[in-house]
């Protein structure tokens, strides 16, 4: 049976250093490797409970099985012996919980926001399905219909097709080649792959690959007691995924696709950039770079959106990712004849940022924007838990968020030029243009 093997509380440290994350964080780990992170926050009577699984579509390494991290997220609501689906739902209903889950490239999260009085009930429910999930092949095949339904609703939007096309074209080997929902052929074949889903659970839904995050009005000692009581017998796993390495892109890739309904044209551009790190300057510099390119105060935004009104949407950036993501740029263009003008204006601005050091006042304004934006977003237990979970899934270290924001503060004009020159070359670029079919 697992006792807590270590506990750490970053309270006075955080406050003394003026860290960006303003709340005390207490972390402990069970012998089976499960890390539990608690943040006591002034939200009378409300607690947010997140379970982070460090597996997403990145882990879908076998051909023909894209979309299984997301599919598995659905299956986690299909019950256990103690709490079959109806019983699980009845408890969620009784406690009036806001309960759901989501899947990304790198992680899957399950959350419950509910009354603090129900903390033990929540720990009991959640630990049970992570340890003892049981579902029939019929239930699996039925749920595949809901997945297809989700695919269908996503793909009535051209941006889903754009994203799928860009990823497929930009990547050769890495699972980021497909999006989280999966490829249509794989989604349609899901009903036939029950065994693979069981294997996915067995590989990744393990304590050493998961983190529990609790935020709100709760008692830390009670959380520790519940965690030991309910999670200690969760059996540790040993699977280590072999994620294929993406070879370096050596020449520009481009394609044009059609949309069979009315739409303004879209332009999407991707550049390969480095994975998340809380000690290298590249990723923070790229985040600042994206603000300099696309924020409402940027010269490019003003030119294309305000003055020439050639776009009604333009944005870009890279997700914090465990492996090298794309820095993606998307623009919706108001005049089909001007697609290349918009593309060229983006290229020109990138070239300018390679050689002209950014004004320090603009850089300071950008850093201020990012800092205040982060702080203002920490306005509910759910938001705080989600934010902290995001950083924990990347490094498993609750101090990462503070280290990253320290790095943002240190980004210099030279860093901006460095990342612009290093990553924004023609040969590292993939371009997709989407237009409406003729007659639409």
């Amino acid at each position: 049976m697992g006792a807590i093997i270590w506990t750490t509380t970053a309270v006075s440290v955080a406050q003394d250093r003026g860290d960006i994350f303003p709340f005390p964080v207490t972390t402990f780990q069970l012998e089976n490797g499960l890390q539990v992170v608690g943040v006591e926050y002034d939200s009378p009577g409300v607690v947010a409970f997140y379970t982070v699984v460090r597996a997403g579509s990145r882990n879908e390494v076998e051909p023909g099985f894209s979309g299984y991290a997301h599919f598995f997220e659905h299956m986690m609501f299909r019950g256990t012996e103690r709490y079959p689906t109806d019983a699980y739902n009845a408890v969620i209903k009784r406690i009036g919980a806001d309960s759901n889950a989501f899947t990304t490239n790198d992680w899957t999260a399950y959350y419950i926001v509910a009354s603090s009085d129900e903390l033990e009930t929540i720990v009991d429910l959640e630990s049970d399905r992570f340890k003892n999930l049981r579902y029939s092949e019929e239930a699996f095949r039925t749920e595949a219909g809901a997945i297809l339904g989700e695919y269908n609703l996503n793909f009535s939007n051209p941006v889903a097709l754009l994203q799928e096309t860009l990823n497929d074209l930009a990547y050769d080997a890495h699972p980021y080649k497909h999006t989280t929902i999966g490829l249509l052929d794989d989604v349609q074949d899901m009903p036939n792959n029950y065994d693979y889903s069981v294997q996915f659970y067995d590989r990744y839904y393990r304590p050493e690959n998961s983190i529990v995050v609790v935020v709100g009005d709760f008692d830390q000692s009670a959380l520790e007691r519940f965690a030991e009581q309910y999670y200690a017998d969760w059996e540790r796993g040993d699977f280590v995924p072999q994620i294929p390495q993406e070879p370096t892109q050596t020449e520009e890739r481009t394609t044009t696709i059609n949309w069979s309904n009315p739409t303004l044209p879209f332009l999407m551009i991707g550049y390969h950039v480095p994975a998340f790190s809380d000690d290298a300057i590249d990723m923070p510099a790229l985040d600042v770079f994206s603000q300099l390119l696309f924020s409402e105060t940027s010269p490019l935004f003003r030119q294309l959106y305000l003055e020439e009104q050639l776009v009604d949407v333009i944005q870009g950036g890279a997700l914090d990712s465990r492996d090298a993501p794309l820095f993606s740029i998307i623009a919706r263009i108001t005049d089909t004849a001007r697609i290349h003008d918009v593309r060229d204006a983006i290229y020109e601005e990138i070239e300018r940022l390679k050689t002209e050091p950014v004004d320090t006042a603009i850089l300071d304004s950008t850093k201020s924007h990012m800092r205040y934006g982060f702080s203002m977003g920490l306005n509910s237990p759910g938001q705080i838990a989600r934010t902290l979970s995001h950083y924990l899934q990347l490094t498993e270290d609750p101090q990462t968020v503070n280290r990253v924001y320290d790095l943002y503060e240190s980004v210099s004009p030279e860093d901006i030029m460095m990342v612009a020159n290093t990553y924004f070359s023609d040969s590292n670029r993939t371009v997709v243009i989407l237009t409406a079919e003729e007659g639409q």
């Binding site: 009036g96 806001d98 009535s156």
Partner: protein, 504 residues
């Protein structure tokens, strides 16, 4: 942290026992709904107006939306839009316009470090918008694109809901999208926007809320610098005409290339949060179709048991999901409400079956009602879940303002007060008084629309196709659903190419 709810105003204001409820039409000064939270670093201000798309002239659908965007995404007489974004950017302050049929609200959120200059900017934007020609052109084009490109070509679910609105409110001020119509937007000139702002964004129509860590005199300042500066003008409250009755089950099918079939169903229902029966219907609806949860019968039977699609829900009032949450957005009050069912896209081959199942389930709800057990479970859920509606300051403030508009106590308190007193009999009586299944508006977005129409009108059987074997109970029920008489009124079935939707 404790929350205190007070009213600020230059006149004497009588607060209710909860201290937070007043109508928006006091004549000497507009009361400000205030939720001070001294420990919070954030301040939220919502300046709402009882103005919406119902005020759009018949030939200028979208006029209110353009006007709202001139404040929410435009400059003032003091700052151009470019200067404004430059100022707000380092603060990461947000300023947005939310507009609906009967209410428009300017929402500002700022760290208290920057409250002082922020309120000057907000005041200028609302009282003296810049009405810059480039801002106007950009905002009008944005709205036009949202209709002709996004709605028609990029979001079948929203298209289905807006199509339902078109069918339900044909000839009624609610009938056009709040963003406007293609021709309506094209006919709007900048002078029209100026005149609309002067006549509608007035003292008589305003309702203001503030919340967060603001200084003690902030309410007076808002009163002095925003409310008192608005044009006098009278209330522009309109008398809403009656909504035309539905003639049986009417269908509007939008014909477009679609990967799956989107369906929305509804009928007008004249019950709002101000009515006793609303709370009984809230319980009934939670049982039948609570938004994006497995508490709802529709969700369990259509998605959970059959895997027909991603989700199936129902609503007893206009519902817009608040961002990524599953909770309803505030500040979209309406005097006329509707009951609706949202069936998320279903593969074409099962669409006819899904439509049948949803309507048949509605019939069962109306004829059989809830059991005591179902009633108790749904009521308990709502009593707990409704407390989560207001996790953030901004949402809490929005709900207080809505309660003021409806003339009720604070909505969450109303739920906590009324639900424990309800009985299953009262819920089932409310269902029979307000819900029905014979006169329905049915909106469908699909490919091969004419084929679908013919199958509906002919009342052809619609056996479903599943990925998995289902239980004998489900099989037996499916036989009933497959042959359920949809009884579509053949005189009231239209097929409209998507390019013709929302033109005028």
């Amino acid at each position: 942290m404790t929350f205190r709810c007070v009213l600020l105003g230059l006149c004497a204001v009588v607060a209710s026992s909860l201290g937070c409820n007043t109508g928006p039409d006091l004549d000497e000064a507009t009361p400000i709904i205030a939720l001070p939270m001294p420990n919070s670093p954030l301040v939220t201000i919502r300046v709402g107006f009882r103005v919406g798309s119902v005020h759009d002239p018949e030939s200028q659908k979208g006029l209110n939306a353009v006007t709202a965007l001139m404040m929410g995404r435009g400059g003032s007489t003091t700052l151009s839009y470019e200067e404004l974004t430059e100022t707000l950017y380092p603060w990461s302050a947000s300023l947005s316009a939310q507009f609906d049929k009967e209410m428009t609200v300017l929402i500002g959120e700022v760290h208290r470090d920057h409250l002082e200059p922020f309120i000057d900017i907000l005041s200028d934007l609302i009282v003296t918008p810049g009405f810059d020609e480039a801002d106007f052109s950009r905002n009008r084009d944005f709205l036009t694109n949202s209709v002709v490109s996004t709605l028609r070509g990029s979001d079948d679910e929203e298209l289905g809901k807006e199509t339902l609105n078109t069918l339900l409110y044909n000839g009624h001020p609610y009938g056009a999208p709040v963003n406007g119509t293609e021709e309506g937007l094209a006919s709007i000139a900048l002078d029209d926007v100026r005149a609309f702002h002067a006549s509608h964004y007035t003292k008589a129509n305003v309702i203001v809320g503030i919340a967060g860590g603001y200084p003690d005199d902030f309410g007076e300042r808002v009163q002095r610098e925003i409310v008192a500066q608005l044009p006098d003008g009278g209330s522009t409250a309109t008398i809403l005409p009656a909504v035309s009755s539905l003639d049986g089950r009417e269908v509007l099918i939008v014909d477009k290339e679609a990967i799956a079939t989107a369906i929305s169903i509804g009928f007008p229902m004249n019950v709002t949060r101000a009515d006793d029966d609303f709370y009984a219907l809230m319980v009934a609806n939670s049982y039948f179709g609570e938004h994006r949860t497995f508490n709802g019968l529709l969700m369990n039977k259509m998605r959970g048991q059959r895997g027909l699609n991603y989700g199936d829900y129902s609503y007893i009032e206009n519902f817009i999901q608040d961002g990524g949450s599953r909770l309803p957005v505030s500040n979209i009050p309406r005097r006329e409400q509707l009951f609706s069912i949202w069936i998320r896209p279903v593969p074409h081959h099962n669409a006819h079956f899904a439509l049948r199942q949803a309507i048949r389930e509605l019939e069962v709800l109306v004829t059989e009602g809830l059991t005591e057990t179902e009633f108790e479970a749904s009521r308990e859920f709502l009593l707990n879940y409704s407390k989560l509606y207001v996790q953030t300051t901004s949402r809490r403030l929005g709900y207080h303002m809505d309660s003021s508009v409806y003339g009720t106590e604070y909505f969450i308190d109303e739920i906590q007060r009324r639900l424990p007193a309800l009985t299953v009999t009262e819920v089932n009586e409310a269902i029979r008084r307000h819900l029905q299944f014979n006169d329905l508006a049915i909106a469908v977005v699909t490919s091969e629309a004419e084929v679908f129409r013919d199958r509906l009108v002919a009342n052809e059987p619609s056996p479903p196709t599943y990925n998995a074997e289902v239980t004998s109970e489900i099989e037996a029920e499916d036989l009933l659903i497959t042959s359920y008489d949809l009884a579509i009124n053949p005189e009231r079935v239209q097929v409209v190419p998507v390019g013709q939707m929302f033109r005028r």
